[in-house]
């Protein structure tokens, strides 16, 4: 299977994780066909290509399909060697993988959960999210990007923070990453947002807000979700 084979990406515009794959493909200069999935009505194609999790993103390269955004990022890095996303050194690679996982499990998932919670439950999750953000703040201090001078794997993994997090904070009436306590994170967010590949490749805030309201309406009329 050559790197010349057709590349397709099944994604959802409002998904924080499917966007990562687009950023990676664009940074590598890889042409791909984007297929927007209806998050409320999954296509038979998606269910066929990712029967295990039934989620986006799914990358299709020639005849082969793969799922899980961080797994896909590594595949992209190994298949198209220009503009490497992960560091070369095994120890640095392990660190990058560690932080990507940490941010996904302890910040992204928890912030989303806080958004979807109320009262005491929400307060608890908010506190955990802030604790996780504090650890990430320490990690980005003194660096332009998480990956150093150039944008890389870990920046892509954290990139949801520049568009999705502020919207979740606003819609959820909660603050996780405030400018006073998180100057380094805010500085990184600005750098990331200004990157030519990123700035033209973000969902409009209004679309995210609309999606969240629609989802919340659906869940309140069907609590089983």
């Amino acid at each position: 299977m050559g790197s010349q084979d057709v590349v397709k990406l099944l994604g959802v515009e409002v998904s924080p994780v499917s966007r990562r794959v687009e950023w990676a493909l664009k940074l590598k200069g890889v042409d791909y066909e984007y297929i927007e999935e209806d998050i409320f009505n999954k296509s038979s194609l998606l269910l066929e290509l990712n029967p295990v999790h039934k989620k986006v993103p799914v990358l299709v390269h020639g005849p082969k399909a793969m799922a899980e955004s961080l797994v896909i990022l590594e595949y992209i890095d190994e298949t198209w060697r220009q503009n490497p996303l992960l560091p070369q050194d095994p120890y640095e690679r392990a660190k990058a993988r560690f932080w990507a996982r940490f941010a996904d499990e302890k910040l992204l998932r928890v912030a989303w959960s806080a958004l979807c919670s109320l009262g005491e439950e929400k307060e608890k999750k908010l506190k955990l999210a802030v604790e996780a953000a504090e650890k990430i703040e320490e990690e980005i201090k003194g660096k332009k990007f998480f990956s150093g001078e150039r944008i890389g794997y870990l920046d892509i993994a954290m990139g949801w923070m520049v568009r999705w997090l502020p919207v979740w904070e606003e819609v959820g009436s909660m603050q996780i990453v405030d400018p006073v306590n998180f100057p380094a994170t805010k500085a990184w967010m600005k750098e990331f947002l200004n990157h030519p590949v990123i700035k033209d490749n973000l969902p409009p805030t209004e679309k995210l807000v609309l999606y969240l309201h629609r989802r919340s309406k659906m869940l309140s009329s069907n609590p089983r979700g």
Partner: protein, 222 residues
């Protein structure tokens, strides 16, 4: 260059076992340090300040954390012997996907049964159903291959085989038989247990059961 390798571990941890297997496969000499999880060492807290958990691999003084990340690290550093991941990027993506599945889903359903096995009726049945749903998916992925990795024992096999040491404990308390529901998984287990690295690493299932009983008493789950 010195090659000092230290593993902070706990004998009953399925995550720690993964590292022991990987190091054994590669023939790496290392110092094994057993942690008391109720009284964690300063070294552990210093080397893994974020999660404060084992396993931690300390290589020439530098810590690597999270078991699957450690296994990949081991594979990349000691790359001349016994590859644990395939060389083809797509095969690697599949291996990572399934190891991630084991980490998330197998662990989740183990936890589900752990919490439910003292309960009866509907809740117990629901936990048992989910448990076997996940195992059946894995059985499907294994198919007719000798190992998840294909012809050779690899990353996904390492990620899953360590749960075997806890099977007897879960079967005892959950009152079910994994072999009855998923014979292919047990056949795969027996194949893996023929490997020295696996057989020498996995603790005796009866010891795990004893430990599990103690744990449940301690957490008031009995």
């Amino acid at each position: 260059m010195s090659n000092e390798v230290v593993l902070l571990d706990f004998w009953a941890s399925m995550f720690g076992m993964r590292i022991r297997i990987a190091l054994a496969e590669k023939g790496v000499k290392y110092e094994h340090r057993e942690e008391d999880l109720r009284n964690k060492s300063d070294l552990l807290l210093k080397m893994n300040p974020i999660h404060k958990k084992i396993p931690v691999l300390i290589h020439n003084g530098k810590p690597v954390c999270e078991s699957l990340i450690i296994v990949e690290y081991i594979d990349e550093v000691w790359k001349d012997k016994c590859p644990l991941l395939p060389s083809d990027p797509y095969q690697r993506a599949q291996a990572r996907f399934w190891a991630d599945f084991v980490d998330k889903k197998v662990y989740e359903v183990f936890k589900g049964v752990w919490l439910m096995w003292a309960k009866k009726g509907e809740e117990h049945e629901a936990a048992k159903k989910e448990f076997f749903e996940i195992f059946k998916i894995l059985e499907g992925e294994l198919g007719d291959k000798p190992y998840f990795g294909g012809e050779t024992f690899g990353f996904v096999d390492i990620s899953f085989i360590t749960f075997y040491s806890w099977f007897h404990a879960y079967e005892t308390f959950g009152k079910f038989s994994i072999e009855a529901e998923c014979p292919k998984i047990i056949a795969w287990v027996k194949r893996c247990m023929q490997k020295e690295s696996v057989a020498k690493t996995l603790p005796d299932q009866k010891k795990i059961l004893e430990y599990a009983v103690q744990l449940r008493k301690r957490f008031g789950l009995e």
